[in-house]
């Protein structure tokens, strides 16, 4: 019997790619897709890398495919927006070696800025989509994806969702199958997408999708279970598990290939089952297709487009009640926060004090939007902090941004922030951009990037110097400063926002969660000196609380000894001690 082991959905995807003989993978970290690359990097047989962004990652995978090997690119849903330019045309060229893009959707927004449904982009770009519903299927569907990719000459998307990516279940392991590299042959009609050849490929794409939709009735990833003929569900992905949980005897048509779907299977299913529900998270992608074919089904009029589904949610719709026994109790919310000792807190405390607005970006520092720091005014997408600030200046004049900065992390800056900075230089901007350089891709769990000096595989490499990079594109004023130099930050930020010179301030200090750091110190409040004024509490450090006497206490197990609080105590009541 094959070896069974318990695996995270993302680990199973990596295993599937390994077993399928994939030779190259490129990705940019993004919850909930990040761990795929980290697991895949452990296999010596596969070249894996972090790319600066998803467009680059996709194009690297395309190049590998054209050259004749099986390739993989991984990203989160919003990453596919960045990579959609190559995707749409990769759909036209088709593949050399098989190519799979893993795209992780985040219904419920565990760690994202929107809830978009990748299947919509797949429909628009005419790329087939496989969607697994547990770790075993995640592994199997990746392998099947390569078969489909090569058989139909198309890139294939494997769509996952947060629940699938971040839950563990049993997986049977198989050996890797080495796939011979395809012979490379120049083929201008297929790979050079100038109008004359692209117009022909568009027909190929249309024909391919039709063929696949017809053949899909026999694909093993689609499953029809006819049980109770009174009630049936058309479903896919993790939603299938909720159906099985609530209605184990219902009939189910489970699509593994969710784009294109098989009309024959729908026809067959609907003709046998009395009441059919379409149960799919996010957008009514399957439902609209099924309705367009004229079949009567129930769907989004009952089930929301929003958030994650659950078994109780299905119970409430079907039976009018769920399984809850007890009332939910009132409890103060506990939103995510910046860690004790986080360098972002230090920078934000200064911005807060100076009453400066920040055009924000994607990363842990988005948490600077909430109380008590409350300095981030906008968060749109990767890189937007810099370009949005530029837009404000050009729309409202340079006086308007005299109390504004853009804040962006080091990894995000290299992702797409650099383009926006080039735009500022080129178009004579005067704003202040702060790069919060914590030496890692923090929020996704500490991945290397082009300025850390390490590759995904942990090898040493050239570390891009961010200050040199900014100077090289023409930024006239580049300042490097410690994120914990509160007085220095106050000075340079004040000068910079009031001046008329485009300035990049690189605030540097490593993320406190980065491994290998020592925290020899801890801060403590001298209760005799504490006047209960609460000034130190305004930095929002979770290690600090008020005791019953109203005086501030610092939890020694949580404190990392950064000393930021000391800057805000007028009475010198906080001291740094050796741990």
């Amino acid at each position: 019997m094959a070896k069974k082991t318990i695996m995270l959905g993302n680990e199973a995807i990596a295993r599937g790619a390994f077993e399928a003989g994939v030779k190259l993978s490129s990705a940019y970290p993004g919850t909930p897709s990040t761990e795929i690359s980290e697991y895949l990097a452990k296999y010596d047989e596969v070249y894996t890398e972090w790319a600066p962004n998803e467009k680059v990652a996709a194009e690297v995978a395309i190049g590998a495919s054209v050259s004749g090997v099986r390739s993989l690119a991984c990203m989160k849903h919003v990453g596919l927006n960045v990579a959609s330019d190559p995707l749409y045309t990769f759909s036209y060229t088709g593949v050399g070696g098989g190519s799979v893009f893993v795209v992780a959707d985040d219904p419920g927004l565990a760690s994202s800025q929107n809830e978009q449904d990748t299947r919509m982009i797949a429909r628009a770009s005419h790329v087939p989509v496989l969607e697994p519903s547990d770790s075993q299927e995640a592994k199997d569907f990746v392998k099947y994806g390569y078969e489909l990719s090569e058989a139909y000459d198309t890139p294939v998307i494997l769509r996952t969702t947060t629940k699938l990516a971040h839950s563990q279940s049993a997986v049977e392991l198989c050996d890797r199958v080495e796939v011979a590299d395809k012979e490379y042959a120049r083929n201008v009609q297929k790979y050079v997408m100038m109008p004359a050849s692209a117009i022909g490929r568009h027909l190929v794409v249309e024909d391919r999708e039709k063929r696949m939709a017809e053949d899909a009735a026999d694909f093993p990833v689609n499953k029809m279970e006819i049980n109770d003929k009174k009630i049936g569900f058309i479903t896919c992905g993790i939603a299938y598990q909720y159906v099985k949980e609530v209605c184990p005897n219902a009939s189910v048509l489970k699509f593994g290939l969710v784009n294109p779907i098989s009309k024959k299977l729908v026809e067959d299913f609907v003709s046998q089952v009395e009441t059919v529900y379409v149960f799919e998270e996010l957008e009514p992608v399957i439902e609209e297709q099924v309705r367009a074919w004229g079949f009567a089904v129930k769907g989004k009029e009952l089930f929301t487009r929003q958030g994650e589904y659950s078994a109780n949610m299905l119970r409430r719709v079907l039976f009018g009640a769920d399984e809850a026994v007890f009332e939910k109790q009132e409890a103060p919310a506990r939103p995510p926060i910046l860690c004790p000792g986080c360098p972002h807190r230090s920078v934000f405390s200064v911005l807060n004090k100076l009453k400066i607005h920040a055009s924000g970006d994607i990363g842990c520092y988005t948490l600077g939007a909430v109380a008590p720091l409350g300095v981030i005014d906008t968060t749109i997408c990767m890189g937007a902090s810099i370009s949005a600030l530029h837009g404000m200046e050009k729309a409202r004049g340079k006086e308007f941004i005299k109390n504004w900065v853009a804040v962006i992390g080091d990894s995000t800056f290299l992702h797409t922030g650099i383009n926006s900075l080039i735009n500022m230089v080129y178009n004579k901007a005067t704003g202040t951009v702060m790069i919060l350089d914590n030496r890692t891709t923090g929020m996704t769990g500490h991945q290397e990037h082009a300025a850390t000096g390490k590759t995904l595989k942990g090898e040493e490499t050239y570390a891009i110097n961010l200050a040199d990079l900014c100077r090289a594109v023409g930024v006239p004023n580049v300042i490097e400063i410690s994120s914990f130099d509160v007085k220095g930050l106050e000075k340079v930020i004040t000068e910079s926002v009031n001046g008329d010179t485009l300035t990049v301030i690189i605030a540097k200090a490593p993320c406190v969660l980065l491994k290998g750091q020592k925290f020899p110190n801890v801060c403590a409040v001298n209760p005799d000196a504490c006047k209960k004024c609460g000034a130190c509490m305004k930095i929002g450090c979770p290690a600090m609380t008020r005791g019953e006497d109203g005086k501030v206490k610092i939890d020694a197990t949580m404190c990392n000894g950064c000393g930021l609080c000391k800057n805000y105590c007028k009475f010198n009541a906080i001291e740094t001690l050796e741990r």
């Binding site: 318990i6 995270l8 919850t31 909930p32 990040t34 761990e35 565990a110 760690s111 547990d134 629940k163 971040h166 839950s167 563990q168 279940s169 049993a170 993790i238 598990q241 909720y242 099985k244 949980e245 659950s310 078994a311 109780n312 769920d322 399984e323 809850a324 026994v325 007890f326 009332e327 939910k328 109790q329 009132e330 409890a331 103060p332 919310a333 506990r334 939103p335 995510p336 926060i337 910046l338 860690c339 842990c364 988005t366 948490l367 909430v370 109380a371 008590p372 929020m443 996704t444 769990g445 509490m537 929002g540 979770p542 600090m544 609380t545 197990t557």
Partner: protein, 190 residues
């Protein structure tokens, strides 16, 4: 019959590791297992919840309201927040500690008083000061092994299965102290 376990706490308390140990132990016992984890932004000091379900065949990876056989809460307020996930006769194991959420730190909300006493009116509640035991053992980081040991009896499996699973999951250097911590919790008065 599927057994439903929830582990709730504050990001950074080691709830993820605890759920992995429970899942691994259940797997050792030959059960079908699903574990649902929390990654990403939610981990940053926020309220976190992970799930372990095991039985003959498990479908959904999460435990929902009214289904938890055992909730292991690493913090009082989190016990309060998720207690309604318990079954009628479910058991609530609480690490008796208080971590103020930012809403309380900045004075926007009050930390509720007498949480454990209140919960005891409706549920079977078992509380332990895991932090004190961990510190007495000389390492605050073994808190989760203490609390897991305290809860283990409500989940099932032999003590040996637990100890083996703890040993094969924690870093090699910390096996001995984690085993001790587990035993302290396991043997503590319930």
């Amino acid at each position: 019959m599927t057994k439903n376990i929830m582990i709730v706490g504050v990001g950074g308390q080691g709830t993820l590791l605890t759920s992995r140990i429970i899942g691994k132990a259940a797997m050792e016992m030959g059960f079908d297992v699903k574990i649902s984890e929390v990654h990403g932004m939610a981990q940053r000091g926020g309220s976190v919840v992970t799930f372990v379900r095991f039985g003959e065949a498990v479908n959904e990876p999460v435990v929902e309201e009214g289904q938890a056989d055992v909730i292991i809460a690493f913090e009082r307020l989190e016990a309060l927040r998720y207690a309604h996930f318990l079954k009628k006769d479910g058991v609530l194991v609480v690490n008796d500690c208080r971590i103020d959420p930012m809403t309380v730190v900045i004075g926007a909300k009050q930390y509720p008083e007498n949480i454990i006493e209140g919960l005891k009116k409706e549920h079977a509640v078992y509380a332990i000061d895991g932090q004190k035991i961990a510190l007495d053992l000389g390492n605050s980081k073994v808190l989760n092994s203490v609390v897991l040991g305290y809860a283990a009896g409500f989940i099932g499996f032999d003590k040996d299965v637990w100890l083996q699973t703890v040993s094969s999951t924690v870093p090699a250097k910390t096996i001995e102290i984690n085993q001790k911590a587990f035993a302290c919790g396991y043997d503590a008065e319930h």
